[in-house]
Symmetry: C2
Subunit: 211 residues, 2 copies
DNA sequence: TAGATTGTTAATCGATTAACAATC
DNA sequence: TAGATTGTTAATCGATTAACAATC
């Protein structure tokens, strides 16, 4: 098992670049082209592939179709991934409507909220009471959940997910969730932090120029 | 100038942890406590502080109030940061309504869209035609922009921001933007990719267990 | 064949961790 | 003072980059 997160992220980027090349009619690709497309060095591309046992042809590069297929298998995109979202505030409902996931073979099976006013069983993506999360996730074999609740509700949302058999979480609440690492994969997206980071580097750049 | 992104992200996390400790009534903190709060080692905390010239007291640790102040200065939070958002689709409008930014001293000055139907000059956060971005950003000295447009519009949004004097961009469009690195800081948030990453590690964990 | 590209090994680089002298 | 904690230097670790033999 590869535990380097950056490496897995690069695989996703290669895959995206390959789809673009494919739609332009290309059939083969060299490590050189892929490297340029995602902004790394050619040896990084070959190293990444080597780590996952992906091989090409010396002199002939890689066949785009079969490369896409291999990457999709590695990334679990050979099967539809069903996810649930807990929290239907701003972030939650934006994710619910977001077209990007469907395009990537990710289907939002349902959303959950604690507020009875938000419940809507008839919607294309139903919004259900939080109490039903456990039964729903088990019945539909959901393994992936998104936490888009207010901060204070995030930890308990995680615990409900754990008890519902969910194995992976994308967390948008800006705090550190506590869970046994062997039991669940947590990936945090902290929007304030990302913006703060931009602000820092802009200021730092400014100071460098002034100096 | 510190160019290690991870280090800057940790500073933000320290700051958040410190606010929590402060609200619990604590006055001083040790590298040990901070390390535990954000999940790193104590020597990492001291190393990070040392990189930014932050010092404490041997035996006495760090004073929380003054530590928060120092971190806020470094992170540019001693002044209100005004940002603009281009694109008022799902992501854009979620960000517009998101409470997390205001809490962090980040104010959304305006949003911009190419669709005339979206324009709303009377709203608390006005939605303006894209053509007005340049004048607005210059008049209001906006340095930070968020790209939340469809993929195909992202590169041109970036170029308009560049010409408007914007120096830092948080990009939600899932593609690589091209720009001269010396002129602009770009931070990408790719939601599909983050979710794909969770899916990969869940599958990988599954395989490890099965084996 | 000659030339180009892979796959892998070795070298480099940078970030994290450990260790410990200084000192409150 | 004795004990605990910092600040910094050195050691380790892991990821990226370079180099090059194999070969299509």
């Amino acid at each position: 098992m590869i535990t380097n997160k950056n490496c897995v992220i690069r695989l996703s980027r290669y895959k995206n670049a390959l789809y673009r090349l494919q739609s332009l009619g290309f059939v083969r690709v060299f490590s050189d082209n892929l490297a340029d497309a995602i902004g790394v060095l050619p040896s990084q591309v070959r190293k990444d592939f080597s780590l996952f046992g992906i091989t090409g042809n010396k002199r002939g590069g890689y066949n785009i179709d079969s490369l896409i297929e291999k990457l999709n298998t590695i990334l679990g995109k050979d099967q539809l991934q069903k996810v649930v979202i807990v929290g239907t505030g701003n972030i939650g409902s934006a994710l619910m409507k977001y077209k990007g996931f469907e395009k990537e073979g990710i289907s939002i099976a349902a959303c959950f909220d604690i507020d009875p006013a938000k419940i809507n069983r008839q919607a294309k993506i139903p919004v259900l009471p939080l109490e039903e999360l456990k039964d729903f996730a088990r019945a539909n074999q959901i393994k992936i959940g998104v936490i888009a609740t207010p901060d204070v509700a995030a930890q308990s949302a995680l615990e409900m997910m754990l008890s519902a058999g969910i194995k992976g979480v994308l967390n948008f609440a800006p705090l550190r969730l506590r869970a046994p690492a062997e039991e669940i994969v947590i990936n945090n997206v902290n929007l304030e932090l990302e913006l703060e980071n931009v602000i820092y580097f802009v200021n730092a750049l400014d100071k460098t120029r002034a100096a």
